[in-house]
């Protein structure tokens, strides 16, 4: 028999673990919406499970998962009705917090005077439902770049300050994932709430871990019960198994010195023969933060706007300085991306720029795999060493 709802304290403490069923999840989504959050979570869209607006449990991709390989993503049916039984998709929290295009400024000239127009609308308050350990880690990487410091971005910060994070621990990574190597998953950290989904038995239920005051507050009127220790250990077992199932690996500490010392690796030429310089890897990467600012005026010449847009180190204009582009070859652009991501990022921001989500592998239209490139650079490096000695 389930204990009575009233048998738990009104406000659960941070660190508490409770049990929740699907109808209670519905109430949770409702509670978020009532508090003015825009709930963003997994939805089926254009052949993928992508983050989008969620208004009810029915919007979640029940019974669907994804099969991912380099340059390939396919939806697949699951044997159960799991709502969160997939790995990372084409979008990340970056799409909502560090939006792809935003007008940062507008001005108008009337009667010889110059008017600065107010920003269009207040930033939305997002509640992210179903995000993963790697997603949250990527957000923290962006925080280090975009909040405070040299590249502080008020638009990012405004969205970020307001958001609530309801993670779901990953129990079935994709073949492209390597979060264990990067220390970011499969168990999520730094959440307000974190769910483990149990969809295999007749009881479709969740373990909910409370990670913050805000998380506890949102659970206040949701009918949950104190979780059994058995449930807690089942959750650990699931994420442990997920971690062991991961097939891709990358030595993140080794990569820092390896890439620093292999500016001249012959592997850069080899990858340049396969890379399109299309920029997809940077667009999907949840940590890539580079933007360009485009100024424009309208045809009357009386109105000006400034837009911030995602940019990429794969474009020629990105490294354009007086006289031309510094990185004119595809080789130099791929090298810049990988070396920054895995090595100089650490010098610059104190952590790796990669969280092991595997998006750049899946969504590269020709399936270039950074873990393989690093391995090949390591191989070329040891071959060169042998020759030297």
């Amino acid at each position: 028999m389930q204990p009575e709802i009233s048998s738990r304290p009104e406000q659960l403490p941070k660190g508490a673990e409770v049990r929740m069923d699907v109808p209670a999840l519905e109430l949770l989504i409702e509670a978020l919406r009532e508090r003015g959050y825009r709930v963003v979570g997994p939805v089926l869209r254009d052949g993928a499970i992508a983050y989008g607006p969620v208004n009810k449990v029915g919007d979640l991709p029940a019974g669907w998962t994804s099969e991912q390989n380099p340059a390939s993503y396919r939806l697949k049916r699951r044997p159960d009705n799991a709502l969160f039984g997939y790995a990372t998709g084409p979008k990340s929290m970056k799409d909502f917090l560090h939006v792809s295009e935003i007008r940062t400024f507008a001005a108008e000239k009337t009667d010889g005077l110059f008017w600065i127009l107010p920003a269009s609308e207040p930033p939305p308050r997002y509640a992210f439902l179903g995000v993963r350990g790697c997603d949250i880690a990527a957000m923290l990487v962006q925080d280090r770049v975009l909040i405070g410091g040299q590249a502080a971005d008020p638009f990012y910060e405004a969205r970020r300050r307001n958001c609530l994070i309801i993670a779901v621990h990953c129990t079935e990574p994709a073949s492209t994932c390597f979060c264990v190597s990067m220390g970011t998953g499969p168990r999520a950290r730094n959440f307000d709430l974190a769910l483990t989904e149990f969809a295999d038995s007749d009881l479709h239920e969740f373990l909910v871990e409370i990670g913050s005051e805000a998380g506890a507050e949102i659970l206040e009127r949701i009918p949950v019960t104190i979780a059994s220790t058995e449930m807690t250990s089942r959750s650990r077992a699931l994420t442990d198994r997920a971690g062991q199932a991961m097939t891709r690996h990358l030595d993140k500490d080794r990569a820092v010195s390896l890439l620093r010392e292999n500016f001249d690796s012959p592997q850069w030429d080899r990858v340049a023969e396969r890379c399109l310089a299309c920029g997809n890897c940077t667009m999907v990467c949840p940590t890539c933060f580079c933007v360009t600012f485009e100024d424009s005026t309208d045809i009357s010449g009386q109105r000006a706007e400034r837009w911030r847009k995602w940019d990429s180190c794969y474009s020629l204009a990105f490294s354009y300085i007086h006289g031309g582009s510094v990185r004119s070859s595809t080789k130099s652009r791929y090298r810049q991306w990988l070396t920054h991501k895995l090595s100089s990022w650490v010098d610059q921001f104190g952590s790796s720029g990669c969280v092991g989500c595997g998006r750049c592998i899946t969504w590269c239209p020709v399936g270039i795999d950074l873990t393989e490139e690093v391995a090949a650079i390591e191989k070329a490096n040891s071959a060169a060493r042998k020759e030297d000695s």
Partner: protein, 262 residues
């Protein structure tokens, strides 16, 4: 306000071998036509008005490719009359779909099509404007994107640099929030080798990019072709996908001839 800013730009629109679609983008600017008319004097635009003023022009928009000896001469005159020469569309910038003739024996076709072939005076190739005269700005596409045209005119009007990106369609596709149809659905898409500017319309509607904006900066169609072949697409289909609106522009030309994918 300075008198310089007040002076209207004098615009000429010139047509060569083309379908008129790109010129019509100018008329298609509905919402902005009035303010456009304040900033720009449309001095020569036979498609829209019978009033035709003589040059010189501040800007010449050139549509179409060079396919006749007469046009080859005419473009020289037009170039001399335009301070800034802008090619609009795939015909003017790449030779257009009519450049398919460049791979064939034209005389034979003329003989088959026309009753009196001797009246037909044409060149054996369809070539882009830039093969004949220096071009200042290219607006790509079949047809061009009207917003890019407006952006160009607005920029010239205040003497600023126009925002005309030369990177891939993928960049626009991702910014637009599309789920990549190449990766998620296996649809062949030329976006990773094609220049942005269209706003990634085709992928947004579930169709692979046809490459109508032509090769992007450092375009690598061969890498894309090799991948499309590995995915099981027929060699002929892959080669033909590069032989459309921009067939004559390197490096699509080579790809359509099958170089590197034999």
């Amino acid at each position: 306000m300075s008198s310089k800013a007040k002076r209207k730009l004098k615009l000429g629109v010139f047509k060569f071998a083309s379908c008129d679609g790109c010129q019509l983008s100018l008329l298609d600017l509905e919402d902005d036509l009035l303010s456009l008319a304040d900033a720009v004097e449309i001095a020569f635009f036979p498609e829209a008005s019978s009033k035709m003023k003589k040059g010189p022009y501040d800007i010449g928009l050139v549509e179409g490719s060079i396919t006749t000896p007469h046009d080859a001469k005419r473009i020289q005159q037009i170039r001399r009359q335009c301070k800034m020469l802008v090619t609009i569309g795939a015909c003017a910038t790449a030779g257009g779909i009519q450049a398919l003739r460049n791979w064939h024996n034209l005389n034979q076709w003329v003989g088959q099509v026309y009753a009196k072939p001797k009246f037909i005076h044409i060149l054996s190739t369809s070539t882009p404007i830039a093969e004949h005269v220096p071009v200042d700005v290219e607006l790509r596409g079949c047809p061009i994107n009207k917003h890019q045209l407006l952006e160009l005119l607005a920029a010239v009007a205040v003497e600023r640099k126009p925002n005309i990106p030369t990177y891939s369609v993928c960049m626009e596709c991702k910014r637009r929030g599309n789920v990549c149809i190449a990766v998620a659905q296996g649809v062949p898409c030329l976006g990773p080798a094609t220049q942005a500017g269209c706003g990634a319309i085709c992928p947004a509607y579930g169709r692979g990019c046809y490459g109508c904006f032509g090769p992007m900066e450092s375009s690598s169609p061969k890498i894309l072709a090799v991948h499309l072949l590995a995915q099981g697409n027929a060699t002929e289909a892959v080669q033909r996908s590069f032989r459309t609106f921009n067939a004559w522009s390197e490096p699509f030309r080579e790809m359509s001839e099958g170089k590197g994918t034999e």
